[in-house]
């Protein structure tokens, strides 16, 4: 969930309204590059994404094919990270597993954004009964521990990629609703919104043209911070065996499977764990860095799940 002070939203708007767009982009890039959090975060994510994307060129092994004669091999030039208990190359499985873990997390955050952004905008802009209704539903979503809610949904819907995305995506909705609503509440009182209204623009036109473009910055920051949480949840579900069906490689499931070998072959657990950690820390750093680079006033947004 994100918390923000409303004062900062207004400060931000006042500070930026007179600034030409180009110098804004330039300033953003300058601040972004000067921010080591953001640069390291982006570097970590890009390397992971590229490695996973080019998996077939990096490794010629099949991620699911079993060869028990090669089970539990130590790292060697043929198998850089060794093999798992079914003789599958560990590096290959990590690379292919990353494709799935990162895609699931990305799509679930996208789902949360796609539902949370419009609902938050409606809730903040129109107020009244729509606001009441949306806020109560948000309260209810927030009164479940989120991991429990995702676990429940997956166990009801059944495991698999689509159901994972739905379950984790639903969890991400409230933070977007809260964030967007708080921004819209202060935006709708701005002079230019008032001006547009007096020129006869409809409410929807104002929302689409004037409100939503102005909430993108905090929304993207929130999305990046939510990615870390989505990765941790999806791999947590996979760890419990509630992720994707066997034998599809997925980081969390790889750790769960390897748990029985924790004492004899700890690195089967450690390697996928390290990449999960790198991915989460990458998105957290990027989110923190983006927040500072887009606007120093946004520092009050915190991911406090």
């Amino acid at each position: 969930m994100a918390i923000l002070t409303q004062g900062s939203a207004t400060d931000k708007l006042n500070g930026h309204s007179s600034m030409p767009a180009r110098s804004g982009t330039k300033m953003f890039l300058k601040r972004f590059i000067g921010n080591w959090h953001a640069v390291i975060g982006l570097g970590l994510i890009l390397s992971l994404v590229l490695l996973c994307l080019f998996a077939p060129f990096i490794s010629h092994y099949d991620p699911v094919e079993q060869d028990l004669s090669k089970a539990l091999l130590a790292p060697s030039p043929q198998h850089l990270l060794g093999t798992d208990y079914l003789g599958r190359d560990l590096l290959t499985r990590i690379l292919y597993g990353g494709r799935l873990t990162l895609t699931i997390s990305f799509l679930s955050v996208a789902l949360g954004l796609a539902i949370g952004l419009p609902l938050g905008a409606i809730s903040g802009y129109f107020g009244g009964w729509a606001d009441m209704l949306i806020q109560r539903v948000t309260d209810i979503l927030l009164s479940f521990p989120s991991f429990l809610l995702a676990l429940m949904l997956v166990s009801m819907l059944g495991i698999g990629v689509r159901n994972l995305i739905i379950s984790i995506g639903i969890m991400a909705i409230p933070s977007f609703i809260r964030l967007v609503r708080a921004y819209v509440l202060s935006l709708r009182e701005m002079a230019y919104v008032e001006a547009s209204r007096s020129l006869g623009s409809s409410d929807w036109a104002i929302i689409l043209k004037h409100i939503i473009p102005n909430v993108w910055a905090p929304v993207i920051v929130n999305a990046s911070l939510n990615m870390g949480y989505a990765i941790s949840t999806s791999t947590g579900l996979g760890f419990l065996g509630m992720g994707v069906p066997f034998p599809t490689p997925e980081w969390g499931m790889m750790m769960g499977e390897a748990q029985d070998y924790l004492f004899s072959h700890p690195f089967m657990v450690i390697y996928p764990g390290i990449v999960i950690f790198i991915a989460i820390i990458g998105f957290n750093l990027l989110g923190d860095g983006l927040r500072d680079a887009m606007d120093p006033h946004l520092r009050n947004i915190r991911n406090i799940k």
Binding site: S143, L153, M156, G241, Q259, F263, I276, I280
Partner: protein, 307 residues
């Protein structure tokens, strides 16, 4: 104040009612036949039909809801498929272990998080501050199950200092699970304390207190810390919910006999009444903690209760 507390209690009761209703509907209206989901894979159509009758799933929804609410009012959460004992008995026998774990996790988080945050605010940009901020970065990013397994590897497998699982070694057995479950909150509390202490330290009253001749330690502990902790209290409330969720993974890893492990076991053995009961209890705990935090918040910050 009494009016504020009463209003908060009322809201909590309504929330709990809505949530139990949502749980009821979730288990019945989601795609897929619950009887099919909770019957074993090899169940014959007759067995599934039998299960449906046993769960009253063949009755109209409104009738099912009345039965469900009636049972709930009488503190009857049904009978476990697995053990054939009342769900409530099983839950109450496991609840203390989960509360013990969550409380120890929170105590560790507070005992380390608040001083770490305060020290790094007071000694801003020192090496201690850098260590704290790297520590919090890692703490927030570390998934529960990874930290748990790493701690087991180091302290149980490598050095044999602490037990890897179970709760039979008294104090020694709770150290690793509570560190695991509390790490995320610890990092977050340290971050919150640092930033809110920095904010308080820039305020006029601090300058005034210093100008008056109070020594720095006294100003920090008496004035800054007290005000800086207000936002931290809210985080603690939210974190308890996170701890309850975290208990599912932590208890599974450490074979800790609490509610979280019971939930994963019940999900896998498709013990439908147990799952339903556990989710209700989890939600009720979460709401109760939030209610307590709201009331506490009203005491700390008088502006809240007059809103």
């Amino acid at each position: 104040m009494a009016k504020y507390i009463l209003a908060r209690i009322l809201v909590s009761i309504v929330t709990l009612w809505v949530i139990t209703t949502v749980i009821f509907l979730m288990l019945r209206l989601l795609p897929g036949d619950p009887a099919r989901v909770f019957a074993s894979d090899t169940a014959t159509p007759e067995e599934v039909a039998q299960l449906r009758t046993r769960l009253n799933l063949d009755k109209p929804l409104s009738y099912q809801y009345m039965l469900f609410m009636n049972d709930l009012m009488h503190a009857n959460l049904g009978t476990s498929f697995q053990t054939n004992t009342p769900v409530l008995d099983e839950i109450t026998s496991r609840l203390p272990q989960t509360i013990e774990l969550a409380t120890c996790g929170m105590i560790i988080a507070l005992l380390i998080g608040i001083p770490a945050g305060l020290i790094s605010a007071v000694m801003r940009n020192s090496w201690l501050d850098s260590i704290t901020s790297i520590g919090t970065l890692f703490g927030v990013a570390m998934p529960v199950y990874l930290l748990g397994l790493i701690l087991i590897l180091i302290f149980a497998v490598e050095f044999h200092w602490l037990p890897a699982a179970g709760n039979r070694d008294g104090f020694r057995s709770i150290i690793l699970p509570s560190l695991t479950i509390g790490a995320f909150s610890m990092a977050l509390i340290a971050r919150m304390t640092r930033s809110s202490a920095l904010e308080e330290m820039s305020k006029d009253y601090v300058t005034a207190a210093r100008a008056k001749g109070l020594n720095k330690r006294r100003v920090i502990l008496r004035h800054v810390l007290r005000n800086a902790l207000i936002p931290v209290v809210t985080v603690i409330g939210l974190q308890f919910g996170y701890l309850l969720g975290g208990s599912i993974l932590t208890e599974t890893i450490f074979a800790w006999p609490g509610l979280g492990r019971l939930l994963t076991q019940s999900l896998f053995s498709r013990d439908y009444p147990m799952v339903q009961g556990l989710v209700i209890v989890f939600a009720a705990c979460f709401i109760a903690v939030n209610l307590l935090v709201d009331i506490l918040y009203g005491y700390i910050d008088p502006r809240i209760r007059n809103r």
